[in-house]
Amino acid sequence: MSGNKENIQTDQYLVGKVLGGDTNAFATIIKNTEGLVTQIVFKMISRTEDRKDIAQDIYLKAFKSLPGFRHQSKLSTWIAQISYNTCLSYLEKKKLVLLDHRDDQTEPDDDSVEFVGGKSIQVLFNQTENDIFQRELNEILKTEIERLSPLHKTLITLYHNEELSYEEIALITQLPEGTVKSYLFRARKSLKDSLLRKYKKEEL
């Protein structure tokens, strides 16, 4: 609670400085929010060459709209919302899909998920101590996350990597909280099933 209050005070201070003409304060805002913006841009936009323009566009829009920022949310959430909307416009313009329902069609039968290649998952879990397994798992996971639709990828990243709450994610994506939870559930299940199938296939 006090952290949130502190955040708002920092935001107010920085926004005040920028509105007073101090562009260095805007550099601080960029530094503070770049991680979150980068995550959104990387997850929503697959074309590497377009990411640079989009990232610039996000901050130029934020700078232009800063006088209208009313501190009703954290500044980082507000900038993340601009990032999400900018990426969304890009996807719409390029006629790219935000949410692919094929993500949901990865339902293996229940028995197949309990054992991975004849090994119980407990054995697999014990193997996590092994660095090679961990590296391999991370690589497979990276590929599987990349295969998800932009929205699912973004939600997974915002929740698990950026550790945002459902409420904050709902604010950023302008989706109802229930919808965010439901999409996250499907994305995680799809990832888990792909992971288990992958291991099963490799073991056979």
Partner: protein
């Protein structure tokens, strides 16, 4: 005995938000091997996601954006406009009334004792002093709230 296994939703909740889980879910997972294995699969997945390397741009975003910015000019604000407008209306009304009723003003303070007039002036000055002090205190409080360094 366990009648039904936990749903995928309950399993995810158990792994991602264990504090929000009901006692039934916890007891079920402890006693059911099948659900325990599924929960472990989610644990592996979640920790794997968290270990993913964070992406970074291969250019200096801050420099790139700042090179395209012009210092912001204070824009038009309706709040400030309203303050100025009401101030002008207020001052104009006082001046207009003064001019209009100037012949009555000269006789306004006649007929009162000197002591009464001094008392009146002293009360007005003290009130203004207190109000000024209150505005100054409030201003300092707000500035301190903004000054985080």
């Amino acid at each position: 005995m366990i009648a039904e296994h936990l749903s995928e939703n309950e399993l995810q909740e158990y792994v991602s938000e264990p504090l929000l889980c009901g006692q039934f879910t916890i007891e079920h997972i402890e006693s059911c091997e099948a659900c325990k294995e599924k929960a472990i699969a989610y644990q592996i997945l979640f920790s794997g996601i968290q270990q993913q390397v964070k992406p970074v741009f291969d250019f200096n975003l801050s420099e790139l954006v700042l090179s395209q910015l012009e210092p912001s000019k204070p824009g038009f604000s309706w709040d400030i406009f309203a303050v100025y407008l009401f101030s002008v209306i207020g001052i104009s009304s006082i001046l207009f009334s003064g001019i209009l009723f100037s012949k009555y003003l000269s006789g306004l303070f006649t007929g009162y004792s000197t002591l009464f007039l001094y008392l009146f002036v002293a009360i007005v000055l003290i009130s203004l002093l207190f109000q000024g002090f209150e505005i100054y205190r409030k201003y300092h409080k707000q500035m301190n709230a903004l000054n985080i360094s």
